[in-house]
Amino acid sequence: MENPPKIDPVDESAELKGSFFDNIPKSLFEFLNEAGEISRFAGKFFKQVFLPPYELKEVLKQAFEIGYRSLSLVAITSFIIGLVLTLQSRPTLVEFGAEAWLPSMVGISIIRELGPVVIALICAGKIGSSIGAELGSMKVTEQIDAMEVSGTNPFKYIVVTRILSTTLTIPILIIIGDAVALYGSYLAVNIRGSVSFTLFFKQVFDSLEFSDVVPAFVKTFFFGFAIGLIGCYKGYNSKKGTEGVGRSANSAVVIGSLLVFIIDLIAVQITEFFGFL
């Protein structure tokens, strides 16, 4: 009897044959597919956000849950950032005889970049994971189905309200975080020297321009939107089971954090294009 032809179970050369789509590596295909699904999810958000009912009560409730409950974490980390940044920068500035520039340098660093990005990353961790896990467990325990049966559009009630809340509250958290970080910096300056509160903040605000504050503030809305969107997308599409809930929370943090950096990169390019840098 003739032996059957030997087939290599992982025939990599076979992947190069066939149609164009067959030649796309699986991981790239999955990435593109995921990006497409997230875009569709975002499109659904924009379609539903302008349609009644507006669920304002739920937006405010979520804003409280997301904003107020993250305030202490944001305040502590911002205070440490301001303090450490000042303590680390001081020796180098002293070496160049530019110690007087310390408040200005720290102010620009915090307002333009460090404050928004670091606080957004903290929010991606805390808020993104909590939304991902909450929606994931709602999906697994059929609460989303129960909501639909009760005559409620679950996408509108759960997803739209949470994305709106993160978009509106994360910029506020970042403003508060920036202020606390500057206060931490003021205390750090006074560990080795003596600068009055008024003089410190005068130097900070004198060095800041419109082009420093506005682009930094505008990008925080995009950070908030991205964190809410990814948290909701991952939770809402969670696979069955408790493992799925964990995965949703985890990937909400990973993708949310990555998007914060990507948005930051795009924001820098745009501000540079318009001559703000």
Partner: protein, 258 residues
């Protein structure tokens, strides 16, 4: 409240009205997994049908298709004269207000108290109701399931049996004409299971509901069902009373009655 045998007989022996759920030639697949294949079942007003079948045979899929949580691939499901797949979302919501759905996991909203859980469908479907009317309805329904004292509890503070009862109360609050129970006694001890079965019978008696119950619990099937339907390979394989099916010498249905 425990029902007496004559009450159970009274519930089961009533005459049935016009068809309220008509399922004709329904197909439903998930990828290559063909769950329902030409499934047919008609349920008349006042009837209480228990659907039996092996795990994964499509029982839960069937009732989710009936309430419009899942769309079916082909066929027709008419509920109270409405073709479910063709209803716009506003009309589907109106139809859903006439159907109570008790989920397998109870599906109570974790972030809401028992009171808020019961108020939720009322505020969505019954927007014209005043605050005091809503409060009265919530208290009355909780009394029906014997859990008025748990009104301010969070779902995490409730036992499995209590969660099922609250889930049942939430689906009853709009006084539905049709009840869909998805494995109402699964995971409960025999005593709690009997309490749930008695509650279901009370509901049938008090609200005169038509119901479909998905269950593996043969005691539940025997006591609550006027009629049983057995799903095998995606079709309504056998349909009849408990006594008719239990005496069938069929290898597909016999194991359920052993």
């Amino acid at each position: 409240m425990m029902l007496k045998t004559e009450d159970i007989d009274q519930v089961k022996a009533k005459k049935y009205g016009e068809p309220v759920i008509e399922i004709k030639g329904v197909y439903k697949s998930f990828g290559s997994n063909h769950v329902l294949k030409d499934f047919n079942l008609t349920i008349n007003r006042g009837e209480n049908v228990v659907v039996l079948g092996k795990s994964g045979c499509g029982k839960s899929v069937l009732i989710k298709c009936i309430i419009g949580l899942l769309t079916y691939d082909a066929g027709s499901i008419k509920v109270l004269g409405n073709e479910v797949s063709q209803l716009p979302i506003e009309e589907l919501d109106i139809l859903r207000a006439r159907i109570g759905f008790v989920f397998q996991s109870s599906a109570l909203y974790d972030s809401m108290t028992v009171r808020e859980n019961l108020e939720f469908p009322l505020r969505r479907h019954g927007k014209h109701k005043s605050k005091s009317e809503i409060q009265d309805l919530v208290e009355e329904t909780l009394k029906d399931v014997g859990l008025l004292n748990a009104i301010n509890f969070m779902p995490s503070e409730l036992s499995g049996g209590m969660r099922k009862r609250i889930g049942l109360a939430r689906s009853l609050i709009l006084h539905p004409e049709i009840m869909l129970y998805d494995e109402p006694t699964t995971g409960l001890d025999p005593i709690t299971s009997s309490e749930i079965i008695n509650l279901m019978l009370n509901v049938q008696k008090k609200y005169n509901t038509t119901s479909i119950t998905i269950s593996h619990d043969m005691h539940c099937a025997r006591v609550t069902g006027n009629r049983l339907a057995v799903i095998v390979n995606g079709v309504n394989y056998a349909d009849g009373t408990y006594n008719e099916l239990s005496t069938l010498n069929d290898p597909q249905t016999h194991p359920f009655f052993e």
